[in-house]
């Protein structure tokens, strides 16, 4: 009897138990993912077409577009949307630049480079809560490192989180910093896969190290940069933890990203269906990004 596990021609003709086995194995996963990820997803879209005034005690009535009509005219929401795009762009730009620099430094077979490659992961694996308090302490305008620098320069004790623009820029940079290690490990993996002969050939052709970087390394890193940038961009676009814990969306609206806006609309303004409509708009953005990333991943 010949038994093939990897690529049996088809499931037909095999005993019944054997045919059911794969389904039995994946069923629990599918049920749980279905119940706690896909169902909420669909339920959220359903809610977005409804009216549900929790305060008056009326139940949910679905079948209205009023949330979307309101959303279209909600300039706060669209400002948050544009802000989130800038945030995403800033985050990824930081990650590309700093990540590339660090990856090039770490792609050397020395003891120091190897040890540091492991430690560099720390910001990425450290939970947001800890990261946030670390930065709040460092950025404190009176006693933190920032405060000391300001005092040394004879400047008033101001935190960069106090004014809207500098708060937005600061939290965006922290967002970039937190995800940079992921970019570094992705780039290191890509760098290690570049054959040494290419550099050899470039050197024989008389290329300087700078030219080798520009004409050999960077073109070969392009795919990794694009795919990893996209993944990190998606993560940044939906981030809630960082702007919420760090500045609670403030000062004013400066760091109110869509994630924060959804949370506030649901938990503070208690408007579940309107928050669900915001979530549905975000979902559409995700759909576009997901299709794009699947396509890019297939292409690489």
């Amino acid at each position: 009897m010949r038994v093939t596990l990897a690529r049996p021609p088809s499931t037909r003709g095999r005993p019944r138990g054997e045919r059911a086995l794969p389904y039995l194995l994946v069923l629990p996963t599918l049920v749980l993912i279905g119940a706690l990820a896909l169902l909420p997803l669909l339920y959220g879209v359903w809610l977005s077409f409804g009216r549900w005034d929790l305060l008056s005690g009326q139940g949910l009535r679905v079948g209205t577009l009023e949330n979307y009509a309101r959303l279209l005219q909600d300039s706060d929401f669209w400002r948050a949307f544009v802000r989130t795009l800038w945030w995403t762009l800033g985050t990824v730009a930081f990650q590309v630049i700093v990540g590339l620099g660090l990856a090039l430094l770490l792609n050397r077979p020395t003891f120091v480079a190897e040890k540091v490659s492991a430690l560099i992961l720390l910001p990425w694996v450290t939970p947001f809560v800890v990261i946030v308090y670390a930065w709040l302490l460092l950025l404190d305008g009176s006693g933190g490192v920032t405060g000391r620098v300001l005092a040394a320069l004879n400047l008033p004790p101001l935190s960069p989180l106090a004014s809207p623009l500098s708060a937005f820029v600061t939290v965006t940079l922290i967002s970039g910093w937190k995800g940079t290690p992921f970019m570094v490990i992705a780039l290191l993996a890509a760098l290690k896969s570049i054959p040494a002969e290419l550099y050899e050939a470039a050197r024989v052709d008389g290329a300087t190290p700078g030219q080798a970087l520009r004409f050999v390394t960077l073109p070969l890193l392009r795919n990794t940069l694009v795919v990893t940038g996209l993944i990190l961009g998606i993560l940044a676009f939906y981030n809630f933890d960082l702007p919420w814990l760090m500045t609670a969306g403030g000062p004013g609206e400066a760091t109110t990203l869509i994630g924060v806006a959804i949370y506030q609309t649901f938990f503070i303004d208690v408007q579940p269906t309107y928050a669900a409509a915001m979530g549905t708009v975000m979902l559409l953005v995700l759909l576009v990004l997901a299709l794009l990333s699947l396509r890019l991943r297939r292409a690489t």
Binding site: V3, T4, L5, A6, E18, P28, T29, L30, L32, I33, A37, L38, L39, P40, L41, Y43, G44, L47, V98, R108, T110, V112, A113, A118, I120, L121, L122, P123, V125, P127, V129, V130, Y133, A134, W135, L137, L138, D140, S142, G143, G144, V145, R148, K178, F182, I185, I231, I234, L235, F237, G259, I262, Y263, F266, A275, G279, M282, L283, A290, S293
Partner: protein
């Protein structure tokens, strides 16, 4: 020439160390501050002159924090175990068995990975409330299992693929049942990977904030991230205590991650993951 190359590498090593120190400064600062007397952390000399364990002592006496530590351990261990119990059979089926809808299941699991927490948190809270699963360890465990399932399935899939099919085929030819071939041949080879992936699932639950925040309203059910946030608002000035709390959350995560790094990095790079 060689000597010159070595000198250059040494120079780059120095640059690397400097860059890394700058990059890791906030993390180092947390660790350093956690060992300083609280008044020194903000306002004392820049570098520590006195070190103390007092912050960790008061953390151990802080009842809400200790409760949260227990909750996080319970939720983290159970959700890691739950994720593995579901992910191992799923990963096996997806790599070793051909069946109708296999592609679909694989894509579905992968796409779940991309669903942002903030988008499903609202319907999830509504659903969990009506099921009476808010403020319960069970509710949070179930949700955390779903958070880590896609990535655990994805990582395990890579590892199962790396085990030669021939080994299992040989076992089948020798008269083993399929169950025996899996449990006697495949699983022992996968143990290190299963341990690494389970650790990763634990780490994801340990630091998860949004879902824990949204599904928990009472102090009895809080997990560590919420407890550290509680320290901040409760004792606004007590930076030493907050930093010690930060170390308690971050240290196990960092150590576990460094331990399983080699197992994870490749899979993460090819799979993409929640940060």
């Amino acid at each position: 020439m060689r000597r010159k190359g070595r000198a250059a590498q040494f120079g780059w090593d120095l640059v690397t160390l400097l860059a890394a120190a700058l990059f890791l400064l906030p993390v180092l600062w947390v660790v350093m501050s956690s060992f300083r007397p609280s008044p020194d952390v903000l306002g004392g000399p820049l570098l520590p002159t006195r070190l103390t364990l007092e912050n960790y002592g008061s953390l151990a006496r802080n009842a809400p924090f200790v409760t949260a530590l227990q909750n996080s351990l319970l939720v983290g261990l159970c959700s890691a175990l739950g994720a593995l119990m579901l992910a191992v059979p799923t990963a096996y089926a997806l790599t070793r068995l051909r069946f109708r809808g296999r592609e679909l299941v694989g894509t579905l699991v992968l796409l779940t990975q991309m669903i942002p927490g903030i988008v499903i948190v609202i319907p999830l809270v509504v659903m969990m409330r009506s099921l009476g699963l808010t403020n319960s360890a069970l509710g949070l465990i179930l949700v955390h299992v779903v958070v880590s399932l896609p990535i655990t399935v994805w990582l395990l899939r890579n590892y199962v693929e790396d085990v030669p099919v021939a080994l299992e085929e040989a076992a089948l030819v020798d008269g083993c049942t399929r169950l025996q071939s899996v449990s006697l041949v495949l699983l022992p080879l996968l143990y290190p990977a299963v341990a690494a992936v389970g650790t990763f699932a634990f780490v994801l639950s340990w630091g998860e904030y949004l879902l824990a925040l949204s599904l928990t309203t009472t102090a009895d059910h809080r997990t560590l991230p919420l407890a550290v946030q509680g320290l901040f608002s409760q004792f606004r000035q007590d930076w030493g205590l907050i930093m010690a709390g930060g170390v308690v959350i971050a240290l196990p995560v960092a150590l576990l991650f460094l331990l399983i790094r080699r197992f994870l990095v490749d899979g993460l790079v090819s799979g993409g993951v929640k940060g």
